[in-house]
Symmetry: C2
Subunit: 410 residues, 2 copies
């Protein structure tokens, strides 16, 4: 199925026949950069820059307060949510954009756990830390217990105590992917609700939330959705569950009639009840522009290219840099859209790569991650990344002191 | 002290001698608009537009993920907080920008109420509704009771049951202002903590939080701070209290070492612990640009002009439109920086004014508000507003059907 490349020309030929090749032109990527950090911060799309300009200059600048109605700012959370819904197999009225992933997870953990008296939140040890921190905060606030167990023990551990099972669909480090349908069913069979963190899968991995019976999820706007640094996050609640949940963050934007100034809090119908305060419109606008880069693109074609980039990367790396050990699953059904390698000097190698224009990132203690973002990455970029990596490793070039200091943000 | 104007030339003469006159040039205000909605959404400053362009084009566009360190995105919450601190009489390390006012109030209500076993949150009936909705959510979550009493009964009601007293410094409707020092002391004497909502005072009314013994406050970025639609909000915690409080929203950005990926949650030292998720950088950048419009401007000069605008407005309105009854306090120490008038047809008059370029806003059931924003408003604008209002009222011009429908957002 997969023909290993042997020359740069092979890579360029793959790019020539790539059906997503024209989509790269929707992005503004600096010359000379092979950008493998789209799993951390997607680059600006042309649409994002254009919408941003329009919001600042024309909408805010000319319509002023009128922009809330006239430019449709007030509907931005629902509008952006509906666009994301298509990418994750949800109905348009099941997704809303608001706040951050951390805050949205907080809302859903508390809202969902109120539906039962069961005492425990269950999750995976070693999963992304902000989710764990948030869950610990929820545990403290609600008196629920937080059980963290290694992945192989999860299925066994889901039981009559389990109120909520929350999991990252794709592991931020290794790219390991849970079987979202099976784990959701496992939770349901045990009488628990599952909440999925889709930060590392939305816009990258095929998702069919409705079809897979997923009821609750949160996810990030600034990774594969290309929404800009710190872009607002999203929140998904299956239609049938919406009216049964109430957000603990009862801000006015989630009220049934925010501008009626009523004394009592009445949650808005449907997904809107998960809004809290006034949404940050400039950041929302860039997110809308980022998601536009998916217009007309099927998630199947995105995933097919992700698989191609992965296989190319792994095979070239095994050949040219065998000291970097791939820790991402080889089974495509079990992984997300980044490829991770382990090396004792991963941090320094990562920094040396950045210095020569190959931008991946480091995750403690010893992992380099390369995000595989099919909308704009080329096979040529993969070729370049592996070549530069081989140069660095073969020459021991990472041993320079300037590569031993800096720290970065996801 | 105050000489009433009798002609447009009088107003223009006041503008000529206004020491803040050059500051108006820092803003981009459309021609022909008298903008009295700055208490709801400040207009873009030149700096905001410039920073916004720089963030999107150069920082995000060229530095990509590197922007977190190289462009200093990671420090934006503290940097913007320190700029706000100067405007509200706080130390730079006592203010941080994060999330929305609603979410920040939630954090402080829970964090502060944990310091005591007292059963009640106390506030004012008829205060801004998102605060009340949030407090009701907190009450449900924590089991605390929420007591809402009319303003005259507040002092009396603070007692041994009171855990937290939260209040809006300036009332969103009438512009009535609490004596922040006295009420904070009253709460403290009763063994309670006071939380202040500064949405309608930060950047407008002189504030000396440290000097007045204020310990906890939240406030808005998009009104008098000109941060753009839905700009992130701020949160103030007096230095001596910071280490005793823990946020219920334990996101990674509030962790002592967010990038160490530790298992346990350890709150960051100081004010940083009140961050939750990744901050929306594009919106943060515009806020930083908005606050820059205050550079070199003393809050005393801002307030002195606010008083001048208020007196001019009230006096002209009493003369030309006596049917609109001023409901804002005449005592400048008891009011904020907007002027509100009551009229049975307030909604329609407000819409008719907007149609002729005088942008104020309506608050149910019968109030028109005009925000007095000294950085960019002119006495000439006040003159225009009153003249147009008189034309509309004298001619019954608000009775046109197009003025009876639309709704707007604060």
């Amino acid at each position: 199925m997969f023909n290993p490349l042997t020359t740069l020309s092979d890579a360029q030929a793959l790019d020539q026949s790539d059906p997503l090749r024209p989509v790269r032109d929707r992005f503004l990527i600096p010359d000379g950069i092979a950008y493998f950090d789209g799993h951390s911060l997607g680059p600006p799309s042309r649409a994002a820059r254009q919408i941003q300009d329009d919001v600042v200059r024309r909408q805010w600048g000319e319509q002023l307060i009128g922009g809330w109605n006239d430019a449709g700012w007030i509907d931005a959370p629902q509008r952006a949510g509906a666009k994301i819904a298509r990418l994750i197999g949800a109905k348009p009225n099941e997704v809303i954009v608001a706040d951050s992933t951390s805050v949205n997870l907080f809302k859903l953990l508390i809202a969902a756990s109120r539906l039962s008296d069961r005492p425990a939140i269950l999750s995976e040890a070693g999963d992304f830390h902000t989710d764990r921190y948030i869950a610990k905060g929820v545990a403290r606030l609600t008196g629920l217990r937080l059980d963290l167990v290694p992945r192989p023990e999860l299925e066994q551990k889901v039981g009559p105590d389990t109120n909520i099972l929350y999991l990252s669909h794709v592991h931020y480090g290794t790219a390991e992917r849970h079987d979202i349908a099976a784990m959701t069913a496992r939770a349901r069979d045990a009488g628990a609700l599952a909440i999925w963190d889709l930060c590392h899968s939305a816009g990258a991995v095929p998702l069919q939330l409705n079809q897979d019976g997923v009821e609750l999820a949160v996810g990030c706007g600034y990774k594969y959705l290309n929404g800009g640094p710190g872009a607002p996050a999203f929140l998904y609640v299956a239609e049938h569950l919406q009216e049964r949940l109430s957000s603990p963050l009862q801000g006015w934007m989630g009220h049934a009639a925010p501008f009626d100034f009523t004394d009592d809090y009445a949650p808005a119908p449907g997904i809107d009840r998960f809004l809290a305060g006034t949404p940050p419109i400039l950041s929302m606008a860039a997110l809308e522009g980022g998601i536009e880069a998916f217009d007309g693109v099927s998630m199947d074609s995105v995933w097919a290219k992700s698989v191609g980039l992965f296989e190319t990367f792994r095979s070239l790396m095994a050949d040219r840099c065998p000291d970097l050990v791939c820790v991402s699953p080889s089974d495509q059904a079990r992984r997300g859209s980044h490829i991770s390698f382990r090396h004792p000097n991963a941090f320094e190698i990562c920094q040396a790569l950045i210095a020569v224009g190959v931008m991946g990132d480091f995750r403690a203690p010893d992992v380099i991650r390369f995000g595989l973002t099919p909308l704009y990455l080329r096979y040529e970029d993969v070729w370049t990344a592996v070549e530069r990596c081989a140069d660095i490793v073969d020459s021991g070039g990472w041993n320079r002191p300037e590569f031993s200091r800096r720290r970065k943000v996801t």
